[in-house]
């Protein structure tokens, strides 16, 4: 295996958790999540030569992962989104999980109903990005990022409540 590929795979191993979470936010079906996960890896690999080192590698990976997820098209052969069946799509270990994982399961279920930009904003927030950084990643102003984040949070709260759950 080439050294470049090996080095890339090491970086990928370090950030696989983040990439997996992006896939779970954008796709509710497990197979779709897997496909998106692979697509993100492909796009990262394809464009990693363009990474100039002006920013952190992780920052660049976040950007490619989110941009890929936003334009990614779900495979047509699969059934349309069916939120009621979502818990079946959560990995086994999460089904038998404690309260905390159950909260996350409700969160993942609810976030499927947000639009693609709202999903990105919530994701960046959960990853600890500031309003300014979220704005930079999305190409919008800090103020716009703040407004959109607050709206997305309110929307998420309402959806979770409508599921009969409160975090």
């Amino acid at each position: 295996m080439k050294a470049k590929e090996q080095e890339f795979l090491i970086h990928l191993e370090q950030h696989k958790g983040m990439l997996h979470k992006v896939s779970k936010i954008y796709m509710d079906d497990k197979d779709d999540q897997q496909d998106l996960f692979q697509e993100i890896i492909y796009q990262l690999w394809k464009s990693h030569n363009e990474f100039k080192g002006n920013s952190q590698l992780s920052t660049w990976m976040y950007r490619v992962a989110i941009n890929t997820s936003i334009v990614y098209l779900k495979k047509e052969k699969r059934k349309p989104e069916k939120f009621d069946s979502f818990p079946e799509n959560i990995p086994e270990e999460e089904n038998d999980s404690d309260e905390k994982e159950s909260q996350l399961a409700h969160f993942y279920k609810a976030i499927q109903k947000l639009n693609k930009i709202e999903k990105a904003i919530i994701f960046y927030q959960l990853e600890g990005f500031s309003h300014k950084e979220i704005g930079n990643h999305l190409g919008i102003s800090e103020g716009n990022a703040r407004v959109k984040l607050n709206r997305a949070k309110d929307k998420l709260k309402t959806i979770i409540k409508s599921q009969g759950y409160e975090l």
Binding site: M1, E5, F8, L9, L12, E13, K16, G17, L19, H20, K21, D35, Q38, E39, I41, Y42, Q43, W45, K46, S47, E50, F51, W60, R63, I66, N67, T68, I70, V71, Y72, L73, K75, P91, E93, K100, E101, Q103, L104, F107, N115, K116, I117, E118, A120, Q125, L126, G128, H137, L138, G139, I140, S141, N144, V147, K148, K153, K157, I160, E166, L167
Partner: protein, 202 residues
């Protein structure tokens, strides 16, 4: 909703069991809009070549009179030049890589304009073929019924027939190309436009 709690649970989520590929050779892109468009274009490229071959051998298959060969192949050469020009342009256009490393807004705009540009190029290609369609139809009319052309040179019947052919060609190509482009490419542009709109200030 306590977002801080959610954030700490999010950060502590166990992702150790997530596996990544051991090699990158076999992974490929399948469900990105530009990839889908590339696939469509590849298929169309094959059909275009088959059509060009068919049009090229048409006089031999249908035994056109020898006198028609020169004007037919003159027209065919021009048709071929137009087809090659657009097919090569479309091919080169989609050989270049899309950029997902920009910020989201710029990346979406770039993808959107790439798709729109492809759609417009495709429409121009369709419209550039209209004169050939008109000339081919006039050629067929003459070949099927040479008397009609020679006996009606001075009255309105020929004029009406020519007008009918021109109108049909424009309407047919106009609607067909518009429908085709919007059906196969417009949906991707529309979806990306919707996401761009979600980024706008409220």
């Amino acid at each position: 909703m306590n977002f801080n709690n959610l954030q700490s649970e999010w950060q502590n989520e166990n992702t150790e069991n997530v596996s990544i590929p051991t090699t990158l050779e076999k992974i490929h892109s399948a469900n990105m809009p530009l990839e889908k468009i590339k696939k469509n274009l590849k298929k169309e490229f094959i059909y275009q070549i088959l059509s060009i071959i068919f049009i090229g051998v048409f006089p031999l298959l249908y035994k056109l009179p020898k006198t028609a060969y020169a004007p037919y192949y003159l027209l065919f050469t021009m048709f071929l030049a137009v087809c090659i020009y657009y097919l090569v342009k479309l091919y080169i256009f989609f050989k270049r890589l899309n950029n997902y490393t920009l910020n989201t807004k710029d990346s979406l705009y770039e993808t959107y304009f790439d798709i729109r540009l492809n759609m417009e190029m495709y429409k121009t290609f369709g419209f550039a073929l209209i004169p050939f369609l008109i000339l081919y139809l006039l050629g067929i009319l003459y070949n099927k019924n040479p008397d009609f052309v020679s006996t009606n040179l001075t009255n309105n019947s020929l004029l009406l027939a020519v007008f009918g052919i021109v109108a049909f060609s424009f309407l047919y190509m106009g609607f067909a190309v518009e429908w085709w482009v919007n059906h196969y490419y417009g949906k991707y542009a529309k979806e990306i436009r919707n996401v761009i709109d979600q980024l706008k200030e409220d």
